[in-house]
């Protein structure tokens, strides 16, 4: 069995349960993202995998061997910390070569390896710089190079890009993904940024309150959320409570035909971009009053009050160049492609 297996892991801090019964399989070469809001336990899970914390129960297995009680410094993983944790007293080259120095690799060989890694992270010839002379993005690259120099079995990243500005962050996300693909290193990234998860991951693990909510490829997470939490957390969605009977959904603002849907109480998840304007009310439309119109350039967002019980307006997102005849106070009729509707129990 190759790859990383997390088996029924629990973690308690005093009486607070941070992780409950986490099981996860990461195949070799895969890039897996732990995604969730702060406090969902994603960082605890990563730290347990890294060996920086012990699980209260459960096992960590790597390539068939139980490593649960192996100390962090014997796991041969590479980890990039949120604060980067570069050593301020060492030069760029010495930072990157630190894992080699610890293992007694001779100096000239270290030097060559450092050059190779610096090329890999696009910082050629910066080995003799001091850490303080680097920009935020460059420090990031140094931290990545340092974590990768030992060709680790597992590459762990704990929200390393959260300190960068938005543009640089996007660039780094693409770069990390490329690097990972080129090296084929099994990776585990913790983030609360869904764009980051979508950009980098082969598999996204959505977590909330210490539990795994869904494990699926990024697009699957978006298109087929397993529950209301995932639907709401990933992107923007409209959650519409109502009742299904005889293949028809009845909810605030109207009804929709949903062939084959299970009868009973249900919540629909409909993405804003999957809603279109209909010329008039019909058998398959939802209607309501327009409460706000936002022209965002790329898209136009319309908020429609359909009388949802929790007073949440529906959000409709139209492509920016679509003509929008509606103004605040008008009545809007909305049509939805049944194929894009996700029925949540």
């Amino acid at each position: 069995m190759s790859g990383l297996i997390v088996e029924n892991v629990d973690k308690f801090y005093g009486s607070v349960q941070a992780l409950s019964d986490i099981s996860l399989i990461v195949d070799n070469g895969q890039f897996v993202c732990l995604l969730g809001p702060s406090g969902c336990g994603k960082t605890s899970l990563l730290r347990i995998v890294a060996g920086l914390e012990d699980p209260s129960a459960g096992r960590i297995v790597l390539d068939g061997a139980d490593i649960t009680s192996k100390p962090a410094h014997k796991r041969d993983f590479g980890m990039v910390f949120q604060s980067l944790a570069l050593f301020p007293h060492l030069s760029v080259g010495d930072n990157i070569a630190y894992p080699l120095a610890i293992r007694g690799v001779p100096k000239d060989k270290r030097r060559a390896e450092v050059e190779r890694l610096l090329d890999l992270v696009h910082l050629p010839g910066k080995a003799d710089r001091a850490i303080t002379q680097l920009s935020g993005g460059q420090r990031q690259r140094v931290a990545i190079a340092r974590a990768l120099i030992m060709q680790p079995k597992l590459f762990l990243l704990d929200e390393p890009m959260s300190a960068l500005d938005a543009k640089l962050r996007e660039t780094m996300q693409v770069e990390v993904k490329r690097l990972q693909r080129d090296l084929g290193v099994t990776s585990l990234l913790v983030t609360h940024d869904q764009r980051e998860a979508m950009t980098t991951a082969d598999l996204v693990v959505v977590m909330s309150e210490g539990k795994i909510q869904q494990v699926a490829p990024p697009i699957e997470i978006y298109r087929n959320p397993a529950n209301a939490f995932v639907a709401d957390f990933i992107g923007i969605t409209n959650l519409i409570p109502g009742r299904i009977e005889g293949g028809r959904f009845e909810g605030p603002g109207g009804a929709l035909t949903l062939p084959g849907a299970k009868p009973g109480n249900a919540t629909l998840s409909i993405r804003p971009e999957d809603i279109a304007l209909a010329p008039q009310a019909g058998a398959d439309t939802l209607s309501g009053t327009v409460t706000f119109v936002r022209h965002l350039g790329a898209t136009t967002e319309i908020s429609v009050d359909t009388g949802n019980a929790d007073e949440k307006d529906l959000t409709v997102s139209l492509p920016g160049r679509t003509h929008c005849p509606l103004e605040v106070g008008d009545t809007a009729h909305l049509s939805v492609d049944p194929a894009s509707v996700v029925v949540l129990g």
Binding site: P71, A72, H73, F81, S83, A85, H89, Y98, P99, M150
Partner: protein, 284 residues
């Protein structure tokens, strides 16, 4: 910070009191000591106000150079011990629970509140033959017969280190409490055992605060006066003891003044030297 100068002379008024205090209590006495060090001693507490270098000439005798050597030896070793013990201790302390931290900081402050005389006599009892650790060693079979460990150089070092330790901890605590826990953990994920991470990363990372604390404790210890007399033999006496001996017992004020100025000059030069080396090291 406001850096503009006062617009009217009246604006300088607030610094008048500190300026007066500085002149009256520091500059004037120091100036009179400098003057005194060039006067001719007549013996019996009397001196003649004529310019002479004889006091300084006397300094370059083997006896006073060896006393100076002892002073530096004690100060150097004490600063070394205080840092070698204090740095790991403080590092453990900042990583401990809040309650533990508060407890030890209170202990450290309590040590500072003790009178040096009490500390001295406590150590001399502890190191004595009849009631000290010698008895314990004998009971444990470590030594054949209980013996006394004071007075000796070791006793002086133990006592002065005991006093210097709280300073080391209080100097290092604010600096070490700012370390991100990530640093130590990062070195562990990169393959360093906790002990190696400490020596490989934590210590070299704090090179500058370590040197600064060392110099401060060195200077602080150089003036130690009471403990060398209680715990040491006359050969272990520091320059401060000799100065007080000259001033109070021999009533040779000019020579005591010269000794003081000599001690101070050497100290300042030493501190400057270390700061210079340190600044160079930080740049490289």
């Amino acid at each position: 910070m406001i850096q503009s100068r006062p617009r009217t002379p009246l604006g300088y008024l607030p610094i008048l009191l500190p300026a007066f205090a500085l002149i009256a209590f520091y500059i004037v006495p120091f100036g009179s000591m400098v003057g005194m060090s060039f006067f001719h001693n007549l013996g019996g507490g009397a001196y003649e106000e004529v310019f002479t270098l004889e006091n300084y000439a006397r300094l370059v005798s083997p006896f006073f150079l060896s006393v100076l050597g002892t002073s530096f030896e004690v100060a150097f070793l004490v600063a070394l011990f205080a840092i070698v013990i204090g740095f790991p201790f403080t590092y453990l302390l900042v990583n401990a629970r809040r309650g533990t931290q508060v407890f030890w900081l209170i202990v450290m402050l309590s040590v500072l509140s003790l009178s040096e005389a009490i500390i001295g006599f406590a150590w001399s009892t502890l190191l004595s033959r009849t009631a000290g650790i010698g008895v314990l060693f004998e009971a444990l079979g470590l030594t054949e017969k209980a013996q006394s460990y004071a007075p000796s150089l070791g006793a002086v070092l133990a006592g002065v280190t005991y006093i210097a330790m709280p300073y080391a901890v209080l100097l290092l605590y604010p600096i070490l409490s700012r370390i991100e826990p990530d640093i130590e953990q990062a070195s562990r994920t990169l393959g360093a055992s906790p002990l190696r991470a400490f020596f490989n990363v934590i210590v070299p990372m704090h090179r500058t605060p370590i040197v600064v604390s060392f110099v401060m404790i060195f200077v602080f210890t150089l003036g130690s006066y009471l403990l060398p007399q209680i715990l040491g033999r006359p050969t272990n006496w520091t320059l401060s003891v000799v100065i007080s001996d000259q001033a109070l017992l021999q009533s040779n004020m000019p020579f005591a003044a010269a000794l003081s100025i000599f001690l101070m000059t050497v100290t300042i030069l030493l501190v400057l030297l270390v700061t210079l080396i340190n600044r160079k090291g930080a740049k490289a």
